[in-house]
């Protein structure tokens, strides 16, 4: 079943369209930065953006900071919202279930396909932005990579390219976990409604609400429990030494959301009448 889900994922043109759009955003930003050479003022704009002007090898990290807050969660919510409700709409859900594919197995396969999609999309963004960065900003001649001052607040710290690779790996893992939280919300809603659009909208509504509350001081009491609170904590991977506190908390929060929502999705889907 997992193989079938992956085949369906990679046979759909929309998978590539979404990944292409995700790659296009950092590319556009890079073109503007490279032609004007105007860096965002310190403390404003996307993370790493002023640093990439001097070192293109850091551009993958900047690209992550660009797609993560909106673009990536939107595409994950759309795909996850479509996961069960979309099958119901095309009438294929009932044929999968009487094939028979167990309902639990179907949900697990959907979730794995979503993880693969996130990895595929992030991979595409990392590769294209790395190439873009090297081509437009050039690489530092030395073997070391200087961590940007606006992030580390310690200028001149240098890490090896291998160190950069490890930190990017950690970033990818952290983002996958964060996106799994988004996927869990949309997947749960997808088992509740037969409208893929409704499920995606519901998940986005949750995320937007959470984003707004994160910036609201009046909501400080619940801030640590909001799903989007620690989304950008992966930036801490680029500090020297790595600042683990927020990364750990963020991953923990996402895992709790994941467990609760997937449990709810599973319980709901297992006992639901399939009437579409």
């Amino acid at each position: 079943m997992i193989r079938v889900e992956l085949a369906k994922l990679f046979r759909r043109p929309r998978t590539y369209v979404i990944a292409g759009l995700l790659c296009l955003l950092p590319f556009t930003v890079a073109v503007f930065l490279a032609t004007t050479r105007i860096p965002p003022p310190p403390g404003q704009g996307g993370a790493f953006l002023s640093a990439v002007l001097s070192n293109g090898a850091l551009y993958p990290a900047a690209a992550m900071a660009l797609v993560l807050p909106v673009f990536l969660p939107v595409s994950v919510a759309v795909l996850a919202g479509d996961a069960v409700a979309g099958e119901a709409a095309t009438g294929t859900l009932r044929y999968l279930l009487i094939r028979p594919v167990g309902r639990t197995r179907l949900l697990v396969a959907k979730l794995i396909a979503l993880v693969v999609f996130v990895l595929f999309a992030i991979g595409a963004v990392l590769i294209t932005s790395y190439l873009t960065g090297l081509a437009l900003f050039g690489s530092q001649p030395s073997a070391g990579v200087a961590l940007p001052a606006d992030v580390t607040s310690l200028s001149g710290v240098t890490i090896t390219p291998f160190g950069l690779f490890l930190r990017l790996l950690g970033t990818v893992a952290y983002i996958v976990v964060s996106m799994l939280g988004v996927a869990a919300i949309a997947l749960f809603l997808s088992t509740v409604t037969d409208s893929a659009l409704g499920a995606a909208m519901g998940a986005l509504a949750v995320l937007v609400t959470s984003q707004v509350l994160v910036t609201l001081d009046a909501a400080a009491a619940i801030r640590p429990y909001l799903p989007t609170r620690y989304w950008l904590a992966w930036i801490d991977f680029f500090r020297e030494p790595v600042l683990w506190r927020d990364i750990e908390r963020g991953a923990g929060i996402q895992l709790v959301y994941l467990a609760v929502l997937l449990g709810a999705a599973w319980a709901n889907f297992l006992t639901r009448d399939i009437t579409n």
Partner: protein, 302 residues
Amino acid sequence: MISTTDLTKRYGRVVAVDGVALEVREGDRYGLLGPNGSGKTTLVRMLLGLVFATHGQIEVMGRPVPRRVHEVLPAIGAMVEGPGAYPNLSGRTNLRLFDAAGPGSTRRDRRRRVDEALERVGLAGVDRRPVKAYSLGMRQRLGLAAALLRRPSLLILDEPTNGLDPRGIREVRDLLTALNEGGTTVFLSSHLLAEIEALCTRVGVMDRGRLVLQDELASLRAPTGRVLLGTPEPDRVVSMLDGRVEHRDGTRLTVRHDDPGALNAELVTAGIRVDEIAPERRTLEQVVLDATTTSSDRVEAP
């Protein structure tokens, strides 16, 4: 093959299926007849474990459903409320994906089984066009092919000839008859009387959630004890069979009599010419009209 006891499904306050005791035996061609909204589809979905009964028991091929439905589903081919396929993929790819999704399918003979199933439903020459470019009839045939893919011993088909032209309907009927003669039990539901009458050996009639009738088609259509008679000399017949002529319509008479052969001999002996003579049988339509009350999609003023 299928038996249910007191099977009931409620959606809120609406009773979709009400105390149904279905009995489908091995080798049957069972036709479930009923107007739209009479609960046929809900019943079919419960048999397949898609919808959970409010109460009552279901047993399919000796296993309780839905508890052990996964054990019998591999041997069942089904079509529920129209075919379902991924619209951006070709018919062949769809069949391959569905086959690969479940248990008990080997990759080795998949291509052969897909080709065979497509051939059986008359889609052997289907090309790489995506399903979204298919006509309704082609989709219906693809749905049937999906049901036949693993040579099931029980076929459960909901409105299998929907969207097909008369020739297509005939082909499907011949296909189902051939499969049935090869040992496959066929259970199909339809709101089309003629379809059931032409195909099935056993009939169940649903009316507003209840199974109001279930019997062999042959016994439902048993002779009524009357004979339909056509003669150029109706007056002589009326005077001869005094009181036994129940109805007269020009030269055609309905006569109360058990044996058309004996009646014919009687008339010919008396020198009366006979154009046509046959025992009267109830039509399935008559049977259904007697068994059901009102059209389910009629909404009367209170």
